[in-house]
């Protein structure tokens, strides 16, 4: 029962105090306002929670995007690192081969270096080094490696005249050729040049079993051999010849002086 009706029902009740009704109405209004404030507060809280959740979702998505980008960058960098390591390895092989070819003026050491490049860097098991003869037609077989059951034709004589179509063509026109072909079992015929003069060829006939094919980087080494092996050999032979002649002359001079 409300305060007003209780007053009306009891005639002994005190007379109505002015302002009480107003105070009651105000209290009621305040109570309703309080309820409304609670509702608004609740709504605001719910809104805040949903906004925070939405923001968190966006943040997670953004972080996921960044993570994916970072992972992609790492993969790209790793791939580039592998490429640059391979490139560094290729350059190192070329540097070492060039350095060692020109490190000596002993013809035998130059030949040994050519063989070491073929075996250790190219993975060749069977190969032949042909050098043009100074005194007559044909090519001297300067090196024959890996034919454990003995030399096979056309490399079974003292010299090479002709017999392998790919090798013959390379010796003729100085073009590096890769095989095998219908006419040749050779895997590579590398012309050896001194300037534009073709003075021989390195013929790769077989690779080591665990090196099934010549790779792209091997082509750089073959080109290097083509350009540098012959000039290194030429310089070494020239030096050996001059040195021999010089010693002979010195001996003659001593003899003439009666020493």
């Amino acid at each position: 029962m409300s305060e007003r009706s209780a007053t009306e029902a009891d005639p002994r009740a005190r007379p109505a105090v002015p302002g009480l009704e107003l105070a009651a109405e105000l209290r009621s209004t305040l109570e309703r306002a309080g309820e409304l404030a609670r509702v608004v507060e609740l709504n605001l809280r719910e809104t805040a929670v949903s906004t925070a959740a939405a923001t968190a979702d966006e943040r997670v998505q953004e972080l996921e995007r960044r993570l994916a980008t970072a992972e992609s960058d790492v993969k790209e960098l790793a791939s580039r690192l592998v490429d640059s390591e391979h490139q560094g390895g290729r350059l190192m092989n070329l540097y070492v081969a060039t350095y060692q070819l020109h490190a000596t003026l002993e013809p035998a050491e130059v030949q040994a270096t050519i063989a070491e490049i073929a075996i250790n860097l190219l993975g060749a098991e069977q190969f032949v080094l042909l050098l043009r003869k100074d005194d007559g037609p044909g090519y001297e077989i300067a090196l024959l490696e890996g034919m454990y059951d003995g030399p096979v034709p056309p490399y079974d004589g003292d010299s090479y005249q002709e017999g392998d179509a790919m090798v013959d063509a390379t010796l003729r026109d100085g073009v590096l050729r890769l095989g095998p072909t219908a006419e040749s079992q050779a895997l590579a015929a590398v012309p050896l040049r001194v300037q534009n003069d073709i003075v021989g060829a390195l013929v790769l006939n077989k690779l080591l079993d665990h090196k099934p094919i010549l790779r792209a980087e091997d082509r750089d080494l073959l080109d290097l051999l083509s350009a540098h092996a012959a000039s290194a050999m030429f310089a070494a032979r020239l030096f050996a010849t001059k040195d021999r002649k010089l010693r002979t002359l010195e001996s003659l001079v001593k003899l003439a002086r009666g020493e």
Partner: protein, 119 residues
């Protein structure tokens, strides 16, 4: 592993140069065959890694390996065989002889650096 000194045993001067360039961060000692390698081990007590070829004159890599594995001072010395002998049975023979690892020639420089770091 960060070796203090590496013994390179290979009869190829080209390979010596290759290791010199590739392993420039480590002091290197060279030998052309197994016998020279035994001498180097006597001369340099601080050698703590050997890179070993197999096919060499005088004393080959496996003979050298057998010698040092029976010697108390070098029983645990890490030895990486680096050889053109590339069949599975060659690898098996090298590991059974006491090699720590086996790498086939031709190799990529990172193969060797990785093996050294794994020791």
């Amino acid at each position: 592993m960060q070796p203090r000194k590496v013994l390179v045993v290979d009869d190829s001067k080209l390979m010596h140069k290759m290791y010199e360039v590739m392993l420039r961060q480590y002091p290197l000692v060279y030998a052309m065959d197994g016998r020279q390698a035994l001498d180097r081990l006597q001369e340099h007590a601080d050698i703590d890694l050997v890179l070993l070829d197999i096919n060499m004159p005088n004393m080959n890599g496996l003979e050298f390996l057998a010698q040092i594995r029976t010697n108390g001072a070098h029983q645990d010395l890490p030895v990486i065989i680096i050889s053109t002998e590339g069949r599975d049975e060659d690898t098996q023979r090298g590991l059974e002889a006491g090699a720590t690892a086996y790498i086939k020639k031709p190799f990529h420089s990172e193969d060797i650096l990785e093996k050294i770091s794994q020791l």
